[in-house]
């Protein structure tokens, strides 16, 4: 419950209808996309301007009430769960696209703008905003920036970080800072822009975002290749890159994912295949044709059993249907779907897939894994059921082994979903005590009162239950 003083100050700043305290509203904002995490806030604020955000930050700061920033609540690390109560600051009503600058190839948006709407606005001017998280039709740019989200096009185009040129951020004392700008070259001072990218709402509230755009590719085409073994598929993706082709996307589905997809929405994939690769190239039509030929040849040499190439958008779309069906197909296997994003250097892809299978088998589980083969970012998934604590504990242990295995292979615990609450206990596995201390120092310097997203990212290390894999 808010104190009367805080409520009055918030209402003064926000006006009617933008401060919610009903039990219904609190129940709705208590949850988000991460399964199993919940916690009701004391209230929800929906500001429309930077000035209102400043007023909220000042009022909450003085009252000592934490603020949990929220965009569309699609993050998969429990980053928007108000597990300690406090105020949810939702940017859904700050969703304007302020400018598409066709001369400088930039766009400026409010943080609540939905990723796909920016992509559409850019496309209308022949420009392109490449970062494409699977949630792009829902996720906000503010959320993308705070999580430094990736997508399928990262291998060639990079992640959100590579497109953010400048930010407007409200700091814990209510001051407003502007970082970066439209200059391609600008080394005036620390690169604060990059500090805020990926900060998961713990350092400030992002209120404006300036991103870089690139010219839209003229053509695109896709190759689908099936393999009898995971090794062959991994070798094929390595060979594509060794042939100096940087595909726009290089995705893979494992045997269990293929089986789930085929039983949900048959798309003609051979169910005896151990892995399917989907490789897309975009760019100048001649270059695309050339690269697709190389990709097909390399895959054939690596032992692809079934090879299909699509050069027109409709045909390519049909090939991608299988990848698009992965999430719906897997989501239907159980009441909840636990999906992680362990990541390894791409040369260790096959090792990592084997480690995932071993960890799952060790717990008597069956995982399905798909993901971004080109950048080693895997999504091991497992259907679960919150009503079965024993099952959930086994899933938890399997994931623990998977993270340990990823680290042993020189990888990381999260490639794109962020730390939030869900991975906080694992972060000290990934980072040295010194690195953790440096990060805490940054947090303390910018947010001494722990006002922003308290409890996220930093937590006591999770004890290792001891597995053969990370010995």
């Amino acid at each position: 419950m808010l104190s009367d003083t805080l409520r009055r100050r918030l209402l003064d700043a926000l006006g009617d209808g933008a401060l919610l305290e009903s039990p219904e509203a609190l129940a709705a904002y208590a949850v988000a996309a991460t399964p199993l995490f919940a916690g009701a806030p004391a209230a929800v604020a929906l500001p429309t301007t930077t000035a209102q955000v400043v007023a909220i930050v000042r009022a909450c700061g003085e009252a000592g009430v934490g603020i949990v920033p929220r965009g569309s609540g699609t993050n998969l690390s429990a980053g928007t769960i108000p597990d300690r109560g406090g105020l949810v600051l939702c940017t859904a009503r700050m969703n304007r696209i302020l400018e598409i600058d066709a001369a400088n190839w930039t766009a400026e948006v409010e943080p609540g703008a939905v990723t796909a709407s920016l992509q559409a606005a850019a496309a209308a001017q022949g420009l392109y905003y490449p970062p494409d998280p699977g949630s792009q039709r829902i996720s906000t740019l503010g959320g993308n920036v705070a999580e430094n989200s990736g997508g399928m096009r990262c291998l060639k185009y990079g992640v959100t970080r590579d497109y953010v040129m400048g930010l407007e951020v409200v700091l814990a004392d209510g001051s407003v800072v502007q970082t970066g700008g439209k200059n391609v070259k600008d080394v005036a001072g620390y690169d604060l822009t990059r500090l805020f990218v990926g900060s998961e709402g713990t350092l400030g509230i992002v209120t404006r975002i300036l991103v870089r755009l690139v010219p839209a590719p003229q053509a695109r085409g896709t190759v689908l290749a099936c393999f009898a073994g995971m090794e062959e598929a991994a070798a094929a993706s390595a060979a594509v890159i060794a042939a100096h082709v940087i595909p726009a996307a290089l995705e893979f589905l494992d045997r269990a994912t293929i089986a789930a997809v085929e039983s949900y929405q048959p798309s003609g994939l051979p169910t005896d295949a151990a892995a399917v690769l989907l490789i897309e190239q975009d760019g100048h039509p001649a270059q695309v044709a050339d690269d697709l030929a190389t990709i097909a040849r390399v895959c054939r040499e690596a032992g692809a059993s079934d090879l299909r190439t699509a050069t027109d958008p409709a045909a390519a779309d049909r090939l991608w249907a299988a990848r698009r069906a992965a999430l719906p197909a897997l989501a239907r296997l159980g009441p909840v779907l636990i999906m992680e994003d362990a990541t390894v250097p791409r040369s260790r892809l096959a090792d990592m897939v084997r480690a995932i299978d071993a960890a799952a088998r060790g717990q008597g589980l069956r995982f399905a894994t798909f993901g971004h083969a080109g950048d080693g970012n895997l999504h091991p998934t497992c259907p679960g059921d919150a009503r079965d604590p024993a099952l959930m504990a086994r899933i938890d242990r399997a994931f623990e082994e998977i993270f340990a295995a990823a680290l042993a292979l020189g990888g990381t615990i999260t490639g794109e979903h962020g730390v939030g609450l869900a991975k906080a206990g694992y972060l000290p596995w990934r980072l040295s005590p010194e690195t953790m201390a440096a990060m805490r120092a940054v947090k303390r310097a910018l947010d001494p009162g722990d006002l922003f997203n308290p409890g996220k990212i930093f937590a006591a290390p999770r004890p290792r239950t001891g597995s053969a894999l990370h010995a």
Partner: protein, 440 residues
């Protein structure tokens, strides 16, 4: 104080929501408010909290639940296959029992549900009365006297003129041997307000080679009752319809109202939920299996070649219950595509609700107007001069939008069957004809 009634909500179905948020961008009430509470994912969280005993059946909870249009766009978008409407209907049933359903709790609403909708003669008389009041400009007078809220006066002004005598034959014969025996479902609102559309539908189907009968004994489908939470009322009507179809010996039951069609196709589930015996469940399932939207039936039966000719720019507003509940998306588009000379302009968000949503525009006029205003913007962007619909509620709502946005004379709303009938009869589209072109 948790409400024991909510323990009957389908809990397994509630758990199927993985909270991914894929439903957010397609939800009209989320688009107009930006509120999680007004999104499908938020509503599911609320219903789950109610089932868990964390939220009670309060007027505020009811207001959140009835803010939903039940357009079911979220079901189409959902990767996990969450049966949203089914869960929502179970929730509304509890609220109805607590006297918290806006449609059935008011005396007027309850009267309409009990006595008006199931009785075609009475309903027609009420519609004529309303039309007469309109002709005498009573709503405008009432508004000036401060007795009628402006939004209601605007809605009333958009109602179609009195339908005139019902010119519907009992039987429409095909030219040759019948390709199918079709029972035409007439429903309640459709029949009372747009009887000419039934006549057009029947003539088109007959022309396509079917024998069409308007079977006696049929009544309202019960959808409005079910949406309002009155499941018992819905079952009672459903039984009458099942008996009527069985007695007719027809192969197919064809309807031209998306909302009625979704309800008829869902009779199997309704009877299972209501705990009816196996025999009734089988009979309900048989009716559901025989049900077709007129566009589906026509697209299948119409012989090769054009469906008439019409020189006009049209855009299709999907009926939510046709596209999202019945999953019929291509049939109406295919039919329009076969009319020579017709320029069909796809509207952005054509499958997004117009705000009519059963009687939502009456129970939640302001919310409905917000959804409608966005829709009229999308219609305008297409540059079409005819907006085609496949449901009477949408037709009335579009007429309201035309009045509200002062587009009379530039845009009109026409049921797809009337449009096709017009094309077949080779008439030319004239903007004056209003929504009941079948009679023009």
């Amino acid at each position: 104080m948790p409400d024991a009634g909510f323990s009957a909500l389908p809990y397994d179905e509630l758990l199927t929501c993985i909270r991914c948020g894929f439903c957010l961008p397609v939800c009209p009430t989320y688009a107009s408010t930006g509120l999680e509470t007004a999104s499908p994912r938020g509503r599911l969280a609320l219903m789950k909290a109610a089932a868990d005993g964390e939220l009670a059946a309060t007027p505020r909870f009811a207001r959140e639940m009835f803010f939903c249009l039940e357009c079911r766009a979220c079901e189409t978008a959902c990767p996990a296959g969450v049966p949203f409407a089914h869960i929502m209907e179970a929730t509304r049933e509890v609220l109805h029992e607590r006297g918290l359903s806006p449609a059935t709790a008011s005396p007027a609403g309850a009267f309409a549900m009990r006595h008006l909708l199931p009785n075609q003669r009475r309903l027609r008389r009420a519609v004529s009365l309303a039309a007469t009041a309109n002709r005498l400009r009573l709503p405008q007078l009432g508004r000036r006297l401060g007795m009628v809220p402006p939004i209601l006066a605007e809605q009333a002004a958009a109602l179609p003129p009195a339908p005139g005598p019902r010119r519907l034959l009992d039987r429409y014969a095909p030219a040759g041997a019948a390709k199918a025996r079709i029972a035409l479902f007439t429903g309640c609102v459709m029949d009372a307000m747009f009887p000419a559309t039934h006549d057009a539908t029947a003539r088109l189907l007959a022309r396509a080679g079917a024998e069409v009968t308007v079977i006696p004994g049929q009544t309202c489908c019960g959808a409005l009752h079910d949406h309002a939470g009155d499941r018992a009322g819905a079952v009672e009507l459903a039984k009458a319809n099942i008996a009527a179809l069985e007695a007719s010996g027809a192969d197919l039951l064809v309807h031209n109202a998306g909302g009625c069609g979704a309800m008829l196709k869902g009779y199997g589930r309704l009877f299972a939920d209501a705990g009816e015996g196996a025999a009734w469940q089988d009979r309900a399932a048989a009716l559901a299996a025989a049900s077709r939207d007129a566009s589906e039936a026509l697209a299948e039966l119409w012989p090769e070649g054009d469906i008439g000719q019409l020189d006009a720019d049209v855009t299709l507003q999907d009926s939510c219950h046709l596209v999202h509940a019945q999953k019929v998306r291509s049939a109406p588009r295919a039919l329009l595509g076969r009319v020579r000379g017709l320029r069909v302009r796809e509207m952005a968000g054509a499958d997004s609700c117009c705000g009519s949503a059963g009687i939502y525009n009456l129970t939640n006029p302001e919310d409905s107007a917000q959804v409608l205003d966005r829709k009229m913007g999308a219609v305008a962007d297409t540059g079409a001069n005819i907006v085609v619909t496949a449901n009477p509620g949408c037709l009335i709502q579009m007429r309201w939008g035309i009045v509200r946005h002062r587009l009379e004379g530039r845009l009109r709303a026409v049921h797809i069957m009337d449009l096709l009938d017009l094309a077949v009869r080779g008439e030319h589209a004239t903007p004056e004809a209003g929504g009941r072109t079948g009679q023009a």
